[in-house]
């Protein structure tokens, strides 16, 4: 008996019911929901940072450390504002008459740019405050009984490592978004 590969392939699965329109729309909104969740986590983290460093203003011994804590609190407000300005989630419902693909692309570009420039609005603002706290730790009156010098260097290395890690992870995220932008451009390239 002669077997037809095309017929064999096309008959290999029973006809499936497509997902419901609600499921499809929910899947299409996945990016929006992911951004919204990320931002919510960031805002909650901001509240914790403000509370923790707000407390340090009163509990840390050295003036430089107190000033550094104030700086970090202010930097947190700045970062939260920038996150809202640059990376807030925009619902696909806001697309209006804009073709959805163009809307999705614009959102991807917006998020990619926010991630690419993260050093300037999310990392750098914290650096002076953290530096003041670390230096203040070294010159605090109780420093003789405080952590040894290598401990301070270790703290500096950890803080630097965390900030570098944050930057690197965000650049990876930006590259992933860039790939999706290229895909959309490839799909719409022959629209004229």
């Amino acid at each position: 008996m002669t077997l037809d590969p095309k017929r064999a392939w096309q008959g290999s699965l029973p006809t499936a019911e497509p997902p419901s329109l609600a499921q499809v729309r929910a899947a299409a909104d996945k990016f929006y929901r992911r951004v919204r969740r990320r931002n919510l986590i960031e805002y909650v983290a901001c509240v914790f940072v403000v509370l923790a460093f707000g407390r340090y203003v009163f509990t840390l011994p050295h003036l430089l450390q107190k000033a550094g804590s104030v700086w970090v609190v202010l930097a947190t407000f700045y970062a939260a504002w920038q996150l809202h300005r640059r990376g807030s989630a925009v619902s696909p419902e806001a697309a209006g008459p804009t073709p959805l693909y163009a809307f999705v692309r614009a959102q991807l570009v917006r998020q990619r740019d926010a991630l690419t420039s993260i050093f300037w609005w999310y990392i750098l603002p914290f650096v002076p405050g953290l530096a003041m706290i670390l230096f203040g730790n070294g010159s605090a009156p109780a420093a003789a009984n405080g952590p040894p010098i290598w401990g301070r260097w270790l703290a500096l290395a950890i803080v630097t490592g965390v900030l570098a890690g944050v930057w690197w992870l965000n650049q990876l995220g930006a590259r992933r978004l860039e790939r999706r932008i290229i895909e959309i451009d490839a799909l719409t390239a022959d629209e004229g």
């Binding site: 029973p14 499936a16 329109l21 299409a28």
Partner: protein, 176 residues
Amino acid sequence: MTVSRTQQDARYLATAREHGAMIERLARGYEADVELRRDLVQDIHAALWRSFAIYEGQCAERSWVHRIAHNVGVTHMMTARRRRKLPLVGLDEIDGLLGNGDIEGEVGERALAERLLGAIHRLKPADRQVMLLYLEDLTAAEIGEVTGLSPGAVAVRVHRLKALLAEAHTAEEKCT
């Protein structure tokens, strides 16, 4: 021209009904894991629904649907963070569509479809696309339209594919 949300929904629903089974088969060609495949099918449907916001007859609807679906499938395949047991090969490197498995006792279209699937999973993205499209009975011109490959590149791959399928068929007949 702007496509209203209602038009978009209607177009999507009609297309999903017509091409639902093809999408399932295509997803099977790109993802072996059942759970991940379910997600992939959902992603393809979501991409299809989104795409009808901009579809204005740029190409035949069948080509458009395949193009969207393969785009999602290839992206899924390229970004899957799983270790492959075997390296991916091209149609010119694959050593027969039947592989080295025992085919005794396995006859019929179902067995052939499984063999085809095994071969599809070993192929590199472009060759995988061509094979899936060929098996879905798209013409060479349509395959070129979906994949963006030149007519020459499509012809070479289809020729090689036909030869491999003929070889597979001859081997199966010998064994049965």
